[in-house]
Amino acid sequence: MRSGVAIFPGSNCDRDIIVALKKITSKVPLKLWHKDTEFPNLDLIVLPGGFSFGDYLRCGALAARSPIIRNIKDHVSRGGALLGICNGFQILIETGILPGSLIRNKKLLFTCKETILEVQKTIENPFTKGFKDGLNLKIPVAHNEGNYFAPASLLNELDGEGRIAFKYVKGDNPDSNIDYNPNGSSNDIAGILSKNGRVLGMMPHPERAINHLHGGTDGLKFLTKSIENIIG
């Protein structure tokens, strides 16, 4: 299993995902700088969370035009797995690798809280394969622009093609008034897949739920399953 983590100026969850990947694979992932254009073929590349380029212009817009993006696109066309978390998801949207847009949270607040994700029935993909449809995972979010927005035609397409990986759900929380969708995302979408299923973008941070001290280990459960699938 060879993995790499792409780092942009302003990324700040790179270390956390590196710790998580090392914990699972017992190998340290390759650190890739946004200007790197020569590195060995990898099985998985992660675009981590953070505030790449200070979120200037639009979240992820400047990172999406970095030199490394061409290599990342080549990686995907070779069938490599690509995971974008939070700002990484925003970067994937800005590159056009994933469709739609991520706009300002509906309540205009930076939201940092635990959310319940429901695994959806999807096309074959290396991230959620092996999880039962409807399984709930407790994974936190922390973002200001995570409100997934797309025209109705695209939302229908994503739904029809089985490309919605995760939705925010109420879970078994007894408080029915709780705002389970943290950002106003259309159709409660928390993560989507590319057409071929090899790319997943998600707003929640699995790397922040890998230790009991984090308040849960569902993130570890998810990442471990993904890596098992990618190794095959």
Partner: protein
């Protein structure tokens, strides 16, 4: 010459910032305003005086980086210095 790019959200795209501003305006008693939409402006300064060339280049910049055409509209205004 300057190229002034005005970027606005497309119709139908939620503008929570605009909604919040509208709320505040109405709390202040400005009840005639029914809807607020926010946008941004980018001003580019060119050495060139070839208007067609500047517009062409600015358009290309908008399409490749400055505007997210999924959710945003833009228009370009050219301002010539005397």
């Amino acid at each position: 010459m300057k190229a002034i790019i005005n970027i606005s959200l497309k119709q139908g795209v939620l503008d929570p910032q605009g909604l919040a501003i509208q709320n505040s305006l109405s709390n202040l008693g400005f009840n005639n305003c029914k809807n607020v939409r926010t946008g941004k402006q980018i001003i580019l300064d060119f050495d060139s005086n070839e208007e067609d060339q500047v517009i062409k280049e600015t358009k290309k910049m908008c399409e490749t980086l400055l505007v997210n055409t999924v959710i945003e509209n833009y228009d370009i205004e050219i301002v010539k210095e005397n």
